[in-house]
């Protein structure tokens, strides 16, 4: 490993830091958490407004709401972006508070299974209702 000796004096701080960072990985997740939070900022307001309308109506109104591709697509986005954001956020919480390696690994796996599983189930249900209508 090279040491920042004499020649190091001419290197920029960024050049010296490159490849020596403490984290090594996680940048994608860090950025992903922020990108999804910006998207959710808009999606949540839309979802709350939609929920207000849907709370009053019954099954027929909900199916009608779903007939609009705009609603179906936005709900699809809310689910995919939301569950990804949840997985990343809960990962940070687990990593911050759980020290025991095995416990941590189990919780991280459970978190990933729950989030990706729920995302898949939600997406499937949205597609079913949007494309094939309701009914079992």
């Amino acid at each position: 490993m090279s040491t920042p000796s004499k020649s190091g004096a001419y290197r920029t701080p960024l050049g010296r830091a490159r490849g020596l960072g403490a984290a090594k990985s996680g940048v994608g997740r860090f950025i992903g958490e922020r990108v999804t939070s910006v998207a959710l900022l808009f999606l949540v307001f839309w979802a709350v407004a939609s929920a207000l309308g849907l709370a009053k109506g019954g099954y027929a109104e909900a199916m009608q709401w779903f007939a609009s591709p705009v609603n179906a697509v936005l709900l699809l986005l809310l689910s995919v972006v939301g569950f990804y954001h949840m997985q990343v956020g809960m990962t940070v919480i687990i990593e911050d508070y759980i020290g025991k390696p095995v416990t941590k690994a189990v919780l991280l796996l459970a978190n990933a299974f729950a989030c990706w599983g729920a995302m898949a189930l939600t997406v499937l249900c949205i597609l079913k209702v949007a494309l094939a209508g309701g009914g079992a």
Binding site: A55, Y59, A62, G89, T122
Partner: protein
């Protein structure tokens, strides 16, 4: 300071709440009977309490997350600004939740 941990706690609460959305589309995809009983569950008193908590959690987490995005842009780091934005975030969450539930009541959705 309190707002920092509240952002995290409400993130956890919203994490749980989001599964209600999954339940909603699952009920809708399962047909009218399932949908009606699911909506009946959400419309019960315990259901409304949970939904109100979900509303507050979502808005608090949203406001807390917005503060973090501003910090990421390098804004609002002074002691005064950080304290003011914490109060603003809490005020926003309370007002927004009350507005949403007030609207729901006015629309006859409760």
């Amino acid at each position: 300071m309190a707002m920092s941990i509240l952002t995290r706690v409400t993130g956890g609460a919203a994490f749980v709440g989001m599964f209600l959305v999954t339940g909603w589309v699952l009920a809708l995809a399962s047909g009218q009977a399932a949908y009606d009983s699911y909506m009946g569950l959400l419309g019960s008193i315990p259901g409304k309490v949970v939904l109100f908590g979900f509303t507050v959690a979502i808005f608090l987490h949203l406001a807390g997350g917005f503060r973090h995005l501003m910090w990421d842009l390098g804004k609002g780091y002074s002691k005064g600004a950080a304290s003011a934005s914490a109060w603003a975030a809490m005020a926003f969450a309370i007002v927004a939740s009350l507005v949403v539930w007030g609207l729901a009541a006015m629309m006859g959705a409760l």
